[in-house]
């Protein structure tokens, strides 16, 4: 088993081999290439399980790092191609291969009959490879490579139905929006590596960068600038506000793609990278503050957007944005474990939800929940698994989502206890957004499964190849949470698994009160430097991002339960009996009219809590997202185009080119005048020569 870690790169290479093989001769195979992808991922999945087991049982363990000195880059620096296997990598390997395998199996039935079936499988495998390159990277440059390849694959898969203009636009939008973030990522990586010059000849090495940061060898400006720029990359890739706009549009791709890319794996790349560089970003309160605030904004406003959607996939897309906001916010409040734990569990249940949605769409040939209804009887397996996924997403107690989301909220609470306002923000807004999440998921579930069938096709349950993955993912959506739950406080658990030795040192969070006050993220009081509240709250040893043995938090449990019940209840009120004549989510009247329109005690909460949230904030959020932020992106595009046109027409063609032509013309003008000197009269020439001689003679005489 020990040797398995040394061969972790095989997991990465398998999908690459299968992608190439599918592209080369997939069409000749009986399953059109699907079997190659499934086989490669199956082997990779088995290996990942082995690796995960190995790292989990031995946790906390030293990371295994192996690399080639792949190429010199000049100046004595070297680009390594290598792998870094620790708990975090193993966790991601497990997550990516699991979801990818499920999607591979599922797609065989879902995509049956598609013209580009083989191409689809090649792309799926290629995508998996790209993501694994990023995950296993031992250096930031390799991570950037994986990151960009992931972006390309996502472009190819979103634009899978490229005959339609809207799909092309969605693909371009996704690629370009994330590419814009990549500017930040690339420059950030460059800045960080520049900080490593003189310390090492492998300036991109993640472990060395982390070590240098915690040893205080990197200057503050390097850390702040580098990490903020890298965070810009995460904002775009992980769908944080305001660069989330591409994610809902990306639902134009086939549903399995949405499950694989836009829910479970690709969008988590940003969070993963933040986790990888956590020791670096933890050096600056400013960076953490910015991350936390962006995360909080996203988790809340992103979730609101889902309220008014009719397209099931878009509801899920917005929920993804919101959940990613949780993860990012958790990083920003020091909840390293909480963040990646949520990433882990979210990957399973969001994949489950998307695949479930795919199953539904496959059955009714429509994405809209208004075209569904009553699916509970027709599609029992889909129904149960979808409900489990929804419960996990909503954070219902004892599901995986509950444990991981609570970790985040507790991390916020601890951080707040350290005196940072962002901790409070994460805690309370996180709670509120959990309610929103519950509500829209409940709305979707009710509209889809309850009431009468509104579709134009007789619904039918999907086949085994689709239901099988749903079942497995449903199990994981519940079970994965118990890796870090109060039921099993013993080690090893998820925390020890993903812990790296560097995180256990004293050097994390070196910033002092003065600094944090200056950054304006300090709340009332207590320091976080070398003593303390963090430790006191966590109840163990030195300052750490880890908070020790998981324990019950009855107060939080109570609040969560209340919010959950409230949201589900509200959703049931609106949608429990099928699609209402006028969907309240779509009746965006002013607040006063809504007040008048509702009666009774139940309406009180509706009036004072739901209506402002639903009718004002959500609309505002939708509008701002679609009109302003989206419009700004489009506007920048248009402005760029017109600027390009203008630049080309005026500056390039007239001014610059004009200057070039002008010099030629003036030469011609002068030559036309000067040529008259060439009269052809030799005697005049002779006279001119003699005159010149006279002048020269005089000049030389004068010089004497």
């Amino acid at each position: 088993m020990e040797a398995l870690l040394e061969y972790a790169y095989v997991v990465v290479l398998l999908p690459l081999i299968s992608a190439a093989a599918i592209a080369a001769f997939g069409k000749q195979l009986p399953w059109k290439g699907a079997e190659l992808g499934i086989a490669a991922l199956g082997i990779g999945w088995l290996m990942s399980v082995g690796i995960a087991w190995q790292t989990f049982m031995n946790s906390p363990m030293e990371p295994v790092e192996e690399f080639f000195r792949w190429s010199p880059l000049g100046g004595g620096f070297v680009f390594e191609l290598g792998m870094l296997v620790d708990g975090l990598t193993a966790m991601m390997l497990l997550l990516v291969t699991t979801v990818s395998l499920m999607v591979h199996i599922y797609s065989r039935e879902y995509m049956k009959g598609e013209v580009r079936f083989t191409y689809f499988y090649a792309m799926l495998s290629l995508f998996t490879f790209s993501m694994l390159v990023l995950v296993i990277a031992n250096n930031l440059l390799q991570a950037v490579i994986g990151w960009e390849l992931v972006g390309l694959c996502s472009f190819l898969l979103i634009g899978f139905y490229w005959e339609e203009k809207s799909n092309q636009d969605a693909a371009n939008k996704a690629f370009l929006t994330t590419k814009f973030g990549d500017v930040g990522l690339i420059v950030g990586v460059i800045v960080l590596s520049a900080g490593m010059f003189g310390l090492t000849d492998t300036p991109f090495n993640i472990i060395e960068i982390n070590q240098a940061a915690t040893d205080g060898l990197l200057s503050t400006s390097t850390i702040v600038l580098g990490m903020l720029l890298i965070f810009l990359g995460c904002i775009s890739k992980s769908g944080q506000m305001p660069l989330h706009v591409w994610l809902p549009d990306a639902m134009a791709g086939p549903t399995p793609v949405s499950a694989l890319i836009h829910a479970a794996t690709m969008v988590t790349a940003g969070v993963f990278l933040l986790a990888r560089l956590f020791p670096v970003l933890a050096q600056s309160a400013l960076v953490m503050g910015v991350i936390a605030i962006v995360g909080v904004i996203t988790l809340f406003f992103g979730g609101l957007l889902a309220l008014v959607q009719d397209d099931l996939k878009k509801i899920l897309a917005y929920s993804t944005i919101s959940q990613l906001g949780y993860m990012v916010a958790a990083i920003g409040v020091g909840g390293y474990t909480a963040s990646i734990f949520h990433l882990f569990t979210h990957g399973f249940f969001k994949a489950l939800l998307f695949l479930g949605a795919g199953s539904l769409i496959h059955a009714v040939h429509s994405n809209n929940i208004s075209d569904m209804g009553g699916m509970r009887k027709a599609m029992p397996h889909t129904f149960w698994t979808f409900i489990i996924g929804s419960l996990a997403l909503a954070g219902f107690p004892l599901t995986a989502g509950f444990f991981s989301k609570d970790e985040i909220l507790i991390a916020g609470e601890i951080w707040a206890g350290g005196g940072f306002l962002t901790g409070n923000l994460v805690y309370w807004i996180g709670l509120a957004a959990a309610g929103v999440t519950t509500f829209y998921m409940a709305r979707a579930c009710f509209l889809v499964f309850a009431g009468e069938n509104r579709s134009h096709h007789p619904p039918h349950e999907s086949g085994k190849q689709m239901v099988g993955p749903l079942m497995l993912l449903a199990v994981l959506s519940v079970a994965s949470g118990y890796l870090l739950s109060p039921f099993s406080p013993d080690q090893p658990n998820f925390e020890t698994w993903t812990q790296t030795p560097i995180l256990d040192g004293d050097a994390v969070y070196p910033f002092t009160v003065d600094e944090t006050v200056a950054f304006g993220v300090q709340g009332d009081g207590v320091i976080a430097s070398s003593g303390s509240v963090l430790a006191a709250e966590a109840g163990d040893g030195p300052v750490s991002v880890l908070h020790g043995v998981p324990s019950w938090h009855p107060d939080l449990l109570a609040i969560v339960l209340v919010i959950f019940s409230l949201a589900v209840f509200l959703a049931w009120r609106f949608y429990g009996k099928g699609l209402p004549e006028k969907d309240p989510m779509l009746q965006m009247g002013p607040v006063t009219r809504a007040l008048v329109a509702k009666y009774g005690f139940d309406d009180f909460g509706y009036r004072y809590i739901v209506v402002p949230v639903r009718d004002v904030l959500s609309r505002w959020a939708t509008t701002s997202s679609n009109t302003y932020i989206d419009g700004a992106v489009a506007g920048v595009g248009k402005a760029t185009k017109s600027a390009a046109m203008a630049t080309y027409r005026t500056i390039d063609q007239k001014v610059i080119d004009g200057a070039v032509n002008g010099s030629a013309l003036s030469a011609a003008w002068w030559s036309d005048r000067l040529k008259r000197i060439q009269s052809g009269d030799v005697q005049r020439y002779a006279g001119a020569i003699v005159a010149g001689v006279i002048v020269l003679v005089l000049a030389f005489a004068a010089a004497r």
Partner: protein
């Protein structure tokens, strides 16, 4: 005797030659003017031979003058041939009629 006598005479002949070259239309006359200039130079060379190598074995000045006479003879031969050719082709020996080199 004074050196400036021959020198001034040479200068005068040279300048008269220049005048002839510029002022005369007939190509043969232009050639004659060229001969004047060459001879002016010869006078100079001989005069300086006397100044620089009085009674010595070195005869560079005379040698140069001799060579110039030889070259001048060749030049007259070729020059007149060119004039004949020009006359045959264009029925004129006027240099200002031959202005193919103008723009």
């Amino acid at each position: 005797m004074s050196l400036i006598g021959p020198l001034l005479l040479a200068t005068f002949l040279f300048c008269v030659g220049i005048y002839g070259i510029i002022a005369r239309r007939n190509a043969v006359l232009v050639l004659m003017s060229v001969e004047l200039m060459l001879n002016a130079v010869n006078i100079n060379l001989v005069a300086f031979q006397n100044v620089l190598f009085p009674g010595e074995e070195a005869v560079s000045g005379l040698m140069f003058a001799l060579f110039i006479i030889g070259v001048a003879a060749a030049e007259v031969g070729v020059g007149l041939a060119i004039v004949f050719n020009m006359f045959r082709n264009r029925a004129t020996v006027n240099v200002d009629d031959v202005d193919l080199m103008r723009w």
